[in-house]
Symmetry: C5
Subunit: 354 residues, 5 copies
């Protein structure tokens, strides 16, 4: 449930801009990667604190500072001063339950997105907040914990292949966004597989656990949707190139990520529709089964109750019961019983219960 | 139910601008706090009536008059004359069942919002109407009862820390709004916790009281939504800075509250979806249980009815029943019964009922 | 059902502008009130026909002609000629099943709204169509029957208190609209009370009549919504002051009615959501009850069927049944039966059915 | 079902503009009515083929050619050449499963609408496609079969009463549209009556046929909605007078039809909501009844199973059963049975099952 | 399920523009058809690789290159270089799970649509991605596999009839789009027929397989909708003629396809509504049947349980049971039993259970 509300309540009453970390308490130390590159050179270093963060010189180099672990508030404060970041933005970075959003602050763009991961163990979706500050020649990125999410991009930069090294900070920001969005597909595929398995189960052998699984998947979908839905607008706005920080050459790439986001939202809606349809299917088959069960019971009862009653009659101990003395009494009663049973069966046949 | 309709009907037929208090009758006296501050000084006093309300001098001081308890209509009338407030606005303040709204009356802005609180005793949401008049250098705020809601802001003003003391009336209005919106998160967290507990209950041990609780939570959500939904537009309009009363420096803060409002609406919708999903889950498990119960009944009946019938046959008192005389009659019947029971069990196994 | 379709079908094929009354046949005679006032004077007279309707002189007086009962088509025709009203508008006045609408015909505004009333006897909402023609210094109002709806406004005019007497025809039109909208609150409060009572009933003691009441209330809500929904736009358009017939001073009052309309729509939606939620609650508790009932049945059957079968066995009349001769046979069987019963009860306990 | 898809699939792969009739095969011959009128004169003639169709002379006369039966493709082709109609438009006329639409082709307007009729025999809605070409001084109208739909308009033209004869082709087109829309009210009234009857049935005596009727009515509503929904936009666009072919004097009449269309859509939505509510009511009462039935069963079983068991015990043939020898054994057992029965009844009373 | 997510996850982390085929592995070789035509001449050739693809000379000829089978990435790369196609576009062609979209790249338009086919064997809808690049005098089309989809257009070109040969590349693109959309009607008709059959089944003889079929059809509809919905916008944008590549004469044809698309979406929504209504119908009849079954059971049990109990009483072996000795005891008991049975039946009659 934490996924849905978060701990914003903790900071109620504090003035705006006071930095309080509202995520889960992490004990590992934060890790800061500083990467500097241009078309020709590439330089990477890892720092434990932000003191090592170099003053930004006026060069064509692109600087990417990736902060993994935001619970050390002093790091953020230093970076904030160094890059002149508005206190409200720093507050947003620390509040890990924000909605995806884009803020254009003239000097830099602030982008907040949700990275998703599928956890095999708990079979659930894990949510991670990723923030980016995109300036003319720098990108700051903030993650809650150290994940390997952006490692492939570092590798691509290091290798120098592709256009990544030759393009500016806006293209790097695009690459990071693209990586986040691509991961949604991975999560979606996992969820899709589980839905598929569940559907087969529900058709073959409906059971309570499968309905609880439908419920859980619906919850995951609600969560997923909440994380991706506002992203569409964020990337859409970016792609409309209203900020001079986004170069025209990057726009077509942003439109591509935008298409992916729309496609993901489409698929989420599709999954939600399917889960609803599966639930309907489940309820229908439950109702159907109940009917089948009740028919069996009714048929049995309807046949044997009258027969048992007849047997009960001739089990009475009245002194004067002429039938009991008849030689053919017993076979006659058995015959009557058989006739009754057959009549009943025939009437069930007529009602199509058999 | 009072929450939904209110007593507006009481004033049907009265001409507009006639002041009638439509909230609950309160007996406590109203309390009026008058606060005056600028960057350097801070002054606070509490009055019982509005007569002590000072004439507003042309100074850079900001005056904040906080009225707790609006059932004393004469106070409102005096304030209204003093600050030149339109009678329809005064009427709105007194009608405690208004929708959140913003009116731009050139001289001042009128903002009406709903403060929410979670009542532990009744486990329900309590609604309080908060109105604000925001002029160039004054803020009037009106609450239905004396709550501690705005106390932290008074403290922040008194302490002189932060930018609150140095900013104008518009920033104070923002701070009040922010306080109201921040309290939504507290309420949301409480509701979220109850939903979480309920969900576990519904999965583990579905019962009528839990369904009634789902119903009550849905009602709370409907109420919550009704209170917050229009607020989004109110704050959105404020943030677009169409009034000269809102300074540019305050706009970014208003946008921040706006984001929070959107986030709250998102979460409310998420909760509503989850409650619906929980109800579906409940109905499915009920249906499933009924099936299970009926299967037990049907199995028992299907096995014992034929057997009891056979026993009944040999309990009949016909004189001529050859089987009764056989030495192996009794064990033979028992064997037949056993065979029938086993056949039945096998057929249930085949139907996967066991 | 009449409420939903009306008798428009009666006039199919007639050319437009042919006046046919499509409401219910009323036998009472129409009543025409002619009121003339300005800041200083007030004059009221009641006419049986429109012949007495005075020619409108160019004066600052406001003339209000209120027609109660529109089944006398000739009255309308005369008024139409006198005030130069378009035949299509007259047709609209006569078709009592129109949607609320606003037509700006340059010379005058035509406003059509639905007045609602709550009928205690039938416990249902009664619908009345109210039309208004608003010219520069006159207001024509048309009601289906003579109701006291506008009486309080006549009284306010007569008394000369408030600003009503001093303002123009547009303000009078506003006052009439406000009266209609205020009555919605009365109806809403009645419906709200019934919903509240119903909710308590459904939680305490669900029954078929309460579900039928939910259904009826939903119907009323559908009807209510249909009548109010388009009104929002009508009043919104009026308030945007696009017509020179609406003075600027009246606009703030129109915005106030607009807010009320929005609030009513909000409340209707809230009620609809609540009725849906109540139905879900009802279905859940029905399902729950069925489970409870079936458990009782199953427990009884599962305990007594095997026991009765055992009794049946020893009731068989086989000659050779050794157990029957044992001295301890009877108590032993009773003991076995007791053990079986206890085992069954224990297994139900384990299944949490008890 | 044909109503929903049609036979467009028949022409897959053909080049556009190839004329293939896709409606039902009709054997009657087409009928062509040619009407020519102006303020003073009126002339009507019926032709079997389009050869008789006169060349349009430049006169103030309005020519109305009404083609009933479009399966004779050559007629259409001739008319198409004569009036210079685009092949795609001719194709639209022949494809009888189009959506209502408006095409502005500069020289003429093409309007496609759906005429509805209620068929008493099948108790269903019949759909007829009506197309119109509206030029500066001619109207072409195409119907699938000869229906009396437009007869009243011919009569009105012939009689010369009203403004129809004095107005232009655009007014004639309006009159035709109005006739089509007025017929919707007739159908709606029939459906409304059936819904009303059904509702009473469902409240009084719910049965399977009534639910099937609800289903059928929902189907009709879906169909109805599909036919009317796009019409709103069609007429709305016409009324915005964007084409010089629509004179200003006709606009107010078009707005009137537009209002009717909106009213019809409103009513359809209302009916759909009511049918949904009726289904909910049905399901609730079914669920309620099942409860009632099961309670009866459970009460009977719970009372008689223990009693029968006791009777069974004393029906056993053990040699040593002391109770059987007691003088008061029989009445004592009867008393015990009575006590058990009363206890059971009391407990049911306590559970409010009785 | 593959239909819903695809294998985009495979390429997570790759830089944009790297070409990886994400569809199913196909072993057949790709086939490339190169067609060249103008008003007078027509030339067709089939190539196995793109090397034979001719350099585009500046002529009025239209060149259409149709690639069936996109798994041979090198073909695409060559074509891409030859026609100067952006790497992201090539990537889109290869990712077979894209949403329909239109990209205007100044030099050419990129159109991506989904072709649907109905597979009789699996009774399901098959999805095929079709991409088009439309330049000033060429059209490139890409299909996943070799299907006969575009064969009729080749034939029309070859025959030289109609306007296809005389028009430009934009008209050819229209013809291809039209072919794709026309095929939707075929699929829709098949689905419509299955829905019709299903509906009759559900009304006549509801069963679990039919509900599963409803579920499957709903899935197909979700899929269908997902494929067609974005197409509306694609074709709408094309028809607005914002690109100079689309000639004015083609616009009316594009509007025609647009109408078809809207009609298809309408029909899909109609089908979805009907499937929902069918499910409701099913659930209602299930509920109804359960009631009927339970009534039979209850009636049987209520009649025979008391009777069997009475028979059981007189089957007891008490020594002192005076009734047993009476001469009329047996007939009297039979009479009492008959009376009880009749009373029960009468009460069921009164409850309308019979």
């Amino acid at each position: 449930m934490r996924k849905f509300t978060g701990k914003i309540a903790d900071r109620v009453g504090l003035p705006p801009g006071v930095l309080v970390y509202t995520g889960e308490r992490v004990t590992e130390e934060a890790r800061i990667d500083i990467i500097r590159y241009n078309g020709d050179s590439f330089e990477e270093k890892t720092a434990k604190s932000v003191d090592e963060c170099l003053v930004l010189e006026k060069r064509t180099d692109v600087t990417w500072i990736n902060v993994s672990g935001i619970h050390q508030v002093e790091n953020l404060q230093n970076l904030g001063e160094c890059f002149n970041i508005h206190p409200l933005i720093l507050e947003d970075i620390l509040s890990t339950d924000q909605r995806p959003k884009l803020e254009d602050l003239d000097d830099y763009l602030f982008i907040l997105v949700k990275a998703l991961d599928y956890d095999e163990t708990s079979q659930g979706v894990i949510l991670e907040q990723v923030c980016m500050g995109v300036g003319p020649n720098y990108v700051l990125s903030f993650q809650e914990r150290e994940t390997g999410l952006f490692r492939p991009i570092v590798e691509r930069l290091k290798s120098g292949r592709g256009r990544l090294r030759r393009m500016g900070a806006d293209y790097l920001a695009y690459a990071l966004l693209d990586m986040v969005v691509d991961h949604y597909f991975v999560v979606l595929e996992q969820l899709g597989e589980r839905i598929e398995i569940l559907e087969e189960e529900l058709i073959g052998r409906p059971s309570t656990p499968s309905v609880q699984m439908v419920h859980r998947l619906r919850r995951e979908m609600i969560l997923f949707r909440k994380s991706v839905w506002p992203l569409r607008e964020v990337i859409g706005t970016l792609g409309r190139q209203e900020s001079p920080l986004v170069r025209e050459s990057t726009v077509i790439y942003l439109r591509d990520v935008h298409d992916h986001t729309v496609q993901i939202i489409d698929t989420i809606e599709t999954f939600r529709d399917m889960l609803t349809s599966m639930l309907d299917l489940y309820l229908s088959s439950m109702s159907n089964r109940l009917n089948a069960v009740m028919k069996v019971l009714t048929i049995i009862a309807t046949i044997f109750m009258p027969l048992t009653f007849i047997a009960g009659i001739y089990g009475m101990n009245f002194r004067y019961m002429p039938e009991l003395e008849w030689v053919w009494g017993y076979p006659a009663v058995l015959l009557v019983m058989l006739l009754i049973a057959l009549t009943m069966l025939a009437s069930f046949k007529a009602k199509k219960w058999l």
